[in-house]
Symmetry: none
Subunit: 278 residues, 2 copies
């Protein structure tokens, strides 16, 4: 439930975290856009998708931020008063789902694209992962907007089925493809799945808070902060790791490219570079 | 403490300085974005990070500016009255911390990236500098929002520990790496550390003003002006110096590139150019 009243500290916490997400997503997208020529063309599909994901997230957080500012208004003096929802519009939580419906399938496209697998293998992974991701988000939504804890639990459970299936595909079928990757990135790509598991794990926890009767303004503020951090890790941090994988693979694929792009020392001691990158 | 009332002159001073920061950061970012092809690819990582830092700072100053305008409103006619916070929202000072949390670690990334060191040395410097910078900002925040001078002093002191550690790394470990740099930029890079020390030194001074019982509207306006100037020097001026280092290094690395990019005189008397740049 959305609280009707926030203290000044609670209001500023949510306000600053929503703004932090905007800055993180927007400038990760801009950073990747500027850096796109600095990887080989065959990895640019992955980074282009990453730019789009961060861009979409920035857009939706602008909307969430505006909705929050419109929902909680104050009449009080100088930073001591409370912020009430009574005088404002209703806070729209549906934005997050619209965002996730678009971005979560794309996050999996990013991961598969940076592997640069044969087209048939890539397709086999994507026809499994993308519909499962969309289904996972779509099944969560009816539970989120329902006031009824039974319905919330039911849809939470249903949405866990495609989530488990995604993890199954990532940790079994993808593992075979990881073996074909250069040694320097295999470890990073393996860990990327755990980052995904860890950051995606925040969403069901926040989702289930009402079932544990954890309510009130503090719980709601905690949920907003949790969703914000999870979105930064799952999209912006994730995208930067995908970019560093794309850069290492570009250098490995093409020594001339490494010579132009890398530092002097990188060129002089490639063994050193590979070792430290592993 | 945020004053409840500002004179017309105080209001305009803060307003103009906040706007000056937006212009400085935004157009430094745009200048560097346009100039990116004018340095060798191996130095573009440093300048890309500089663009992102100035961009993030511009974004946050837009927010600070908006928050300031929303917080202080006047009912009087024609520029003679006072501006009161009573009628507005609370001024949000947390933005600065959100900005610093993102940009301060990146300022150190910029400095290390322009050196174009071997990847292993680069990593060794960054794993020390980046977490220390984030910790320094995070430890300052509880003191800043606390109304209690004891807590302010305590967190100010705690936050000085990582700051001292950063200076230690910059003035000892980085010195070794400076020796590998071309003669023409060694002096500039050495001085850059003093610019960083000087501009970063403004923040703790402003932070400690309440401990010296320097309060009231004038002190607050002074703090806003001080933070604004420090942010321009530490980000925009710093970025332009990093860019000039990247340009000199690009010319030194590749005589053909210098011939295309440099002026006639640069090409005719390279010795003279190196000497004057030193």
């Amino acid at each position: 439930m959305i609280p009707t009243m926030l203290t000044h500290g609670q209001y500023e916490t949510v306000y600053n975290f929503l703004s932090l997400v905007i800055a993180s997503q927007l400038f990760t997208a801009i950073f990747l856009l500027i850096s796109l020529p600095r990887i080989l063309p065959r990895y640019r599909q992955a980074i282009t998708v990453a730019i789009i994901v961060c861009g979409i997230a920035a857009y939706h957080y602008f909307r969430i931020f505006d909705s929050f500012k419109g929902a909680f208004v104050t009449k009080s003096v100088g930073g001591t008063g409370t912020y009430s929802q009574a005088a404002g519009e209703a806070f729209n939580e549906g934005y997050r789902y619209v965002d996730w419906l678009l971005t979560v399938p794309l996050l999996l496209v990013e991961l598969v694209a940076v592997l640069a697998l044969a087209r048939s293998i890539q397709r086999r992974l994507l026809v499994r992962l993308v519909p499962a991701a969309a289904l996972m988000i779509a099944l969560g939504y009816p539970g989120e907007i329902s006031g009824d804890n039974g319905l919330r639990g039911l849809f939470g459970l249903l949405s866990t089925i495609p989530f488990a299936y995604i993890l199954f595909v990532l940790f079994t079928q993808l593992s075979k493809s990881l073996k074909t990757q250069p040694a320097g990135v295999r470890g990073t790509l393996g860990r990327l799945r755990f980052l995904l598991l860890l950051s995606w794990g925040v969403y069901p926890v926040a989702y289930l808070l009402p079932l544990l009767n954890i309510e009130g303004a503090d719980a709601w503020v905690g949920k907003q902060v949790g969703y914000s951090i999870a979105d930064i890790v799952a999209k912006a941090v994730y995208a930067l790791i995908i970019f560093s994988v794309a850069k290492i693979k570009s250098y490995d694929d093409d020594p001339t490219f490494r010579e132009i792009e890398g530092s002097h020392d990188d060129v002089a001691v490639p063994a050193e570079r590979s070792r430290s990158a592993a």
